[in-house]
């Protein structure tokens, strides 16, 4: 049974069909990639899944329940976590604090518990901290725990964003261009981290430009072009697909 199922999803901006009748599914414990040239609708698709944009029609099922009309925080609460193409960390907070925010959906101390500093809330804070430190350890950025994220290098910021997304113990992790802005060494590093995360039993859906990364780590690939799905197959098949080759390398007859 698919973990994520997208059925006939549509979203237009004015006259532009950014996502046009797209359907596909993501199987549990796999890495699925969405590729396509610039403007293919990849990020729009992501924003539809995470609830940042409402869909015009179509539906999205997560664990067989519809999440189509839910708000981003509700979707996060169900176990879908995401990163952003242009890294969105919380400035002025340390790497540790950023990851602790990711733990929000797994903790519950509210306004009263906070104001009165109840013992339960203190215990919870302690476990949030421990948990977040473990994640920093997993992503090999523990030495930067107490540094303001604005002062970290780009690759390190990306790792903090991964850790933050993982802190909510998601079932599905959405990675929006995880290799954007990284050099080849950093990209290889990110690829290693992504497979490390997948081995922890987390399903991953990623959008990516970097072909080498996608071909290396993905189990399945969806190709979008001008908002439409043109292929959904294994990496080896995608590499042989004439339509895909035409999109990426151009038309022989052109």
């Amino acid at each position: 049974m698919a973990l994520l199922e997208i059925n006939n999803l549509n979203r237009s901006f004015g006259g532009l069909k950014a996502v046009n009748n797209v359907s596909f599914s993501v199987q549990p414990d796999t890495i699925k990639a969405v590729i396509g040239p610039n403007g293919a609708g990849k990020t729009t698709l992501f924003n539809l899944i995470s609830g940042n944009l409402p869909a015009d029609n179509g539906n999205i099922l997560f664990n067989s329940t519809s999440i189509t009309d839910l708000k981003p925080y509700q979707i996060a609460g169900l176990g879908i976590s995401r990163t952003f193409q242009n890294i969105k960390l919380f400035p002025g907070m340390t790497a540790l604090e950023n990851v602790m925010i990711g733990r929000h959906v797994k903790s519950k101390a509210g306004f009263w518990a906070g104001m009165l500093n109840l013992p339960a809330s203190r215990r919870e804070e302690k476990s949030i901290t421990e948990n977040s430190l473990e994640l920093l350890e997993l992503l090999e950025i523990a030495p930067f725990a107490h540094i303001d994220v604005s002062n970290l290098a780009f690759g390190q910021q990306r790792a903090v964003e991964f850790a933050r997304a993982l802190a909510s113990e998601p079932k599905l992790l959405l990675l929006d261009e995880p290799a954007a802005g990284l050099n080849i060494y950093e990209t290889a590093e990110i690829a290693r981290l992504i497979t490390k995360i997948q081995k922890k039993g987390i399903t991953i859906l990623l959008v990516e430009h970097d072909m080498s990364l996608v071909m290396d780590i993905s189990d399945e690939i969806v190709v979008l072009c001008f908002g439409e799905k043109i292929a959904d197959d294994l990496p080896a098949e995608i590499q042989q697909n004439p339509e895909v080759i035409q999109i990426y390398l151009g038309d022989d007859n052109a």
Partner: protein, 355 residues
């Protein structure tokens, strides 16, 4: 309360006691009156600091909430229910039988029956919470200038309502508000012989208020608020119900303002429409800005100094102009607040992590 927060609280309590002792030995007891009033205004300021500095929202209508608290409790404790009681009004009879009403006599010896200040205060806070929710739900969908204008509009509405309503005394306000007996023998009122105890009551409430807020800031909720301030869409994607958090913060700070209004009204024995005025709201915002926005102690310190100077009449007729000027100057030259200016950091190099 983390250990780091104990020290400033101890310093604050020491300063409170120190100031009282100084006024005692220098025979300047009369300063305590303005200091008590200042303490109540500080309550509004630390509440607003939570909204502005930590949740990243703005309210130019906080004098409105102060007025809702003050006017509600003033109206309830000054309306004479004697005739209703004599006519056998069942609600008044019931309240009286529950000890919710207080009997006394006016200057001419006629009987007066009014609502117990405790009940009045609770009703005032409930009304504030209701109005804060009602205003907050639509208004907090706005951002930046639009939010500022909407809250400004709310402040103006409250100002005009108190100015035009007979039971709120119109332009005269409400006077002869009775004292608020907290426990037998301890009463919030303006009697000279109660000056010292009232000073400590006011400062005690401020200490409780700031402890609650510092706890909140250092909790899971406080972290979520800072996240909302930093990147709202990312906070939302992390599972934080951003609109609810902003709303609750707004309501909490409205309650702080209302509590200040309730106590100050009993202390002063009255309240006038100027307390609901726009200039009061701007003053609160200016003080939070000069204190450094996300800096509770900065806001409290600047609030105490500036409100005290203002209440002592040091700014003369230019009172409101001074606060307007402060706001402009701070925004231009010290957006991080006066206490974070580079010049001070030379002296307090290690003290930069002020909470």
């Amino acid at each position: 309360m983390t250990r780091r927060n104990y020290i400033p609280i101890m310093l604050f309590i020491t300063a409170v006691i120190g100031i009282q002792l100084i006024t005692k030995f220098t025979g300047t007891n009369y300063y305590l009156t303005q200091l008590t009033m200042t303490a109540y205004y500080s309550l509004v300021i630390i509440g607003l600091c939570l909204v502005m500095g930590y949740a990243g929202q703005i309210s130019l209508g906080h004098a409105g909430f102060f007025a809702i608290g003050g006017y509600t409790s003033a109206a309830l404790t000054t309306c004479n229910l004697t005739s209703l009681f004599k006519n056998g009004n069942s609600l008044v009879k019931f309240l009286s039988s529950q000890g919710m009403l207080i009997k006394s006599q006016d200057l001419y010896g006629d009987p007066v029956l009014y609502v117990n200040p405790w009940l009045a205060a609770i009703l005032a806070i409930m009304l504030t919470v209701a109005i804060a929710f009602l205003i907050g739900i639509p208004v907090l969908k706005l951002k930046g200038h639009y939010l500022a204008m909407a809250t400004l509009g709310f402040g103006i509405i409250i100002f005009r309502i108190v100015l035009a309503t007979e039971i709120f005394g119109e332009a005269d306000g409400i006077s002869e508000v009775p004292g608020f007996t907290l426990i037998p023998g301890v009463s919030v009122n303006g009697n000279f012989d109660n000056r010292i105890i009232n000073y400590y009551i006011a400062c005690g409430i401020v200490v409780i208020g700031i402890i609650l807020l510092l706890n909140l800031i250092n909790s899971r909720v406080g972290r979520a608020l800072r996240a909302i301030h930093g990147a709202e869409d990312a906070a939302n994607a992390m599972g934080i119900n951003t609109s609810r958090y902003k709303l609750y913060t707004f309501v909490i700070s409205a309650v702080f303002a209302a509590v200040a209004g309730i106590f100050l009204t009993h202390y002063n024995g009255g309240i006038g429409p100027s307390e609901a005025g726009i200039m009061k709201s701007i003053r609160y915002v200016a003080i939070v800005a000069i204190g450094g926005m996300a800096n509770m102690w900065g806001a409290l310190t600047m609030g105490v100094i500036l409100n005290f100077m203002s209440l002592r009449g040091m700014f003369g007729s230019y009172d409101d102009a001074v606060f307007g000027a402060i706001l402009i100057i701070i925004m231009l030259f010290a957006p991080e607040g006066l206490l974070r200016l580079a010049i001070w950091q030379k002296f307090f190099k290690k003290n930069d992590s002020a909470q």
